[in-house]
Symmetry: C2
Subunit: 390 residues, 2 copies
């Protein structure tokens, strides 16, 4: 590498320069404050952990996504977090260990060994909120509504982009698969084919299953569209009690959202299984018009705490602040920039402190040069320092 190429960043790794960095920071504070006002307490999970901790339970799917290296102190393998959800689950299950319901939120850099999609970066700044210790659709509804509230917050700063909420339920697929009594490997193949919505890949696996289940799994891939699809799902799966309960859960959430957030478009996809295999129930994703990929993803992932000695119901979501900030616009800093001459006058020091306290940016004119962002300066008139246009 020479000085011409030495500054090159790895593919998918970016740095944020002042304007974008300010947008991300504004959004970060707004969203974390909003989570706090809903009772979600902020935690800071570690940047790295032993892969033994990071990749057990709900983390097992993250294996290939995680960058690993040997810990010089212990000789064991460490990994940089690829997803903070498993860390929050560990904090709930082990570090806090509270009885009852625990709400947590977090924000921080994560790292992916390969991008998760064509347009995705490899180092999302993940912000998320999770609720532990509560089963049932109440908690699912709360996190979905919190997500919608966060999207509203970041849209206040820009034109309002229509929101689409994509809802699925892993429980329906799981219930059908349980009936099929196939090997874990065959089950994983069905999961992968469904996830990629690939009918050609699905056909050979389904051919080995009982006809009735194969037909239902095939039809599952067609169960997507507006919420009225749920009645078709009931016709198809009506005889299956577990699947029916899942459909009821989806219907309850849909009805509440339609009632409270009539401006949000809802799209049902009962074959949608999200990115990670750790989900166990209702799953969801939010889209903003004009942005191709989901701006936030979430869902239920019960019992992952069991690997840390404490099984807990769990649901939550996470978004990438970098991606989301491209939809939001940084709050304009209306307060101005002031250039200040360098002198030892104590009255000037006091004036500068006051201006900064009032929200103005006050920059020293080092080497006698005004910072180009400054539109005003301080001048001494009749023994008093006054602002004057530059």
């Amino acid at each position: 590498m020479t000085s011409d190429t030495r500054w090159l960043l790895p593919d998918g790794i970016d740095e944020l320069l002042p304007e974008r960095a300010a947008a991300v920071e504004t959004l970060r504070r707004t969203l974390l404050d909003h989570c706090a006002s809903w009772g979600y307490r902020y935690v800071i999970p570690p940047l790295v952990e032993f892969t033994d901790s990071l990749l057990v339970g709900l983390g097992a799917d993250l294996e290939t996504l995680t960058c690993k290296f040997a810990d010089r102190m212990s000789g064991k393998t460490m990994g940089v977090r690829a997803d903070m959800t498993p860390q929050a689950a560990r904090i709930d299950a082990h570090s806090l260990g509270e009885p009852g319901i625990t709400r947590l939120c977090y924000a921080g850099s994560t790292l992916h060994s390969v991008p998760q999609s064509v347009m995705a970066g490899r180092s999302p700044i993940q912000l998320g909120a999770e609720i532990y210790g509560c089963e049932g659709p109440e908690a699912d509804l709360e996190v979905v509504e919190l997500l919608l509230a966060l999207l509203d917050q970041c849209q206040l700063q820009s034109h309002h982009l229509p929101i689409t909420l994509d809802i699925g339920h892993v429980g329906i697929f799981e219930a059908l698969l349980a009936d099929a009594e196939i090997s874990e490997e065959a089950g994983a193949q069905v999961f992968d084919a469904l996830q990629r919505k690939s009918t050609p890949d699905l056909a050979p696996v389904l051919a080995t299953l009982p006809k009735d289940i194969a037909r239902k799994l095939t039809e599952l891939t067609e169960l997507h569209g507006a919420p009225d699809i749920l009645s078709r799902a009931r016709t198809l799966l009506g005889s299956h009690p577990v699947a029916c309960r899942a459909i009821d859960d989806v219907a309850a959430i849909v009805s509440a959202i339609e009632h409270r957030h009539p401006d949000v478009a809802i799209y049902i996809d009962l074959a949608e299984l999200r990115g990670f295999r750790y989900h166990t129930g209702l799953v969801f994703a939010a889209y903003l018009e004009g942005i191709g990929s989901a701006v936030a993803k979430g869902g239920r992932y019960d019992n992952v705490g069991s690997v840390f000695g404490r099984a807990r119901p769990a649901t939550g979501f996470a978004c990438d602040l970098k991606a989301l900030s491209s939809a939001a616009v940084a709050r304009q800093e209306h307060a101005g920039w002031v250039s200040v001459p360098i002198t030892d006058d104590p009255s000037l020091q006091a004036k500068v402190a006051t201006l900064r306290h009032q929200g103005l940016t006050v920059v020293r004119a080092l080497q006698g040069q005004h910072d180009p962002r400054c539109t005003q300066t301080l001048v001494l008139v009749d023994d008093n320092w006054h602002l004057q246009p530059l």
Copy 2:
């Protein structure tokens, strides 16, 4: 690993639970806002880079401190940032490439392969401010005063701990070493011995040097104490123009700080060379009474941008938010926690939104249970929702 030990974090790696995490977040915002009010623009450098970029120039000293792994996409070696200063220098030199003076600040997790001191963690949350494009003591004074202002800010939140500012100047050592005309290796041995303040290690190296220089280097190790030590330094090094200029620079800063910040104790140590070999001029560290290690460190590191094609004067400092927050106390959240029943009443939704906007934390009573932090709840009286103690 079993469920009993699986949650163990690597030595020196910690997670911050709600109370400490809130303290760090409050401090982070306060300090970044203060940097902004001085004209320092926030940037977000990448979490990882190719080691070719991360470890050239001023980064070369960070080699052993950096955790490295192979990039699956390029096959090249990447490293997790151990220090964000080199990243800020690259952003100034290459990505921004602005003429004149550039002020930048940043905050983020870093990772060290081994702890830098006995008590230090391996994943500091580094917050720093840097100024590029300005030589001379004006810029050094600005960053030292910004650091003192930040320490004042975090102390507002706790009892005021006396501050000691430790000041040195790498230029004096460098000037004496240049005269000695010894090999780079021998120079590095002198540097290491000086840094460890180890007279036994120093003696054999000095024995090979011209007597006059050896004597001055030995005496350098004794030049520490209150600012009046500077006159002894002038007597010792008066005949050396480069060393004299360095002493003048230190004296100018000391005089300004004594004048503007009479409550700050100043300690001079002309053999203090900081942790990293990248410094070139004035170096400093801040201590708070009762906290054994420095809470912030900084200094001048001119010309490091040259490896990215643009040599720039540079000075700045960084602190570890985790360490600093142990001295500060989180602002108490005076606004209360309110439990809210789950109903579909639109007037309740509006009331909840208003309370949250007013700064109250409003938590849904999922499964009919009040969050234990809540001291009030909302009850319907005469068709209106009212706050009522729990």
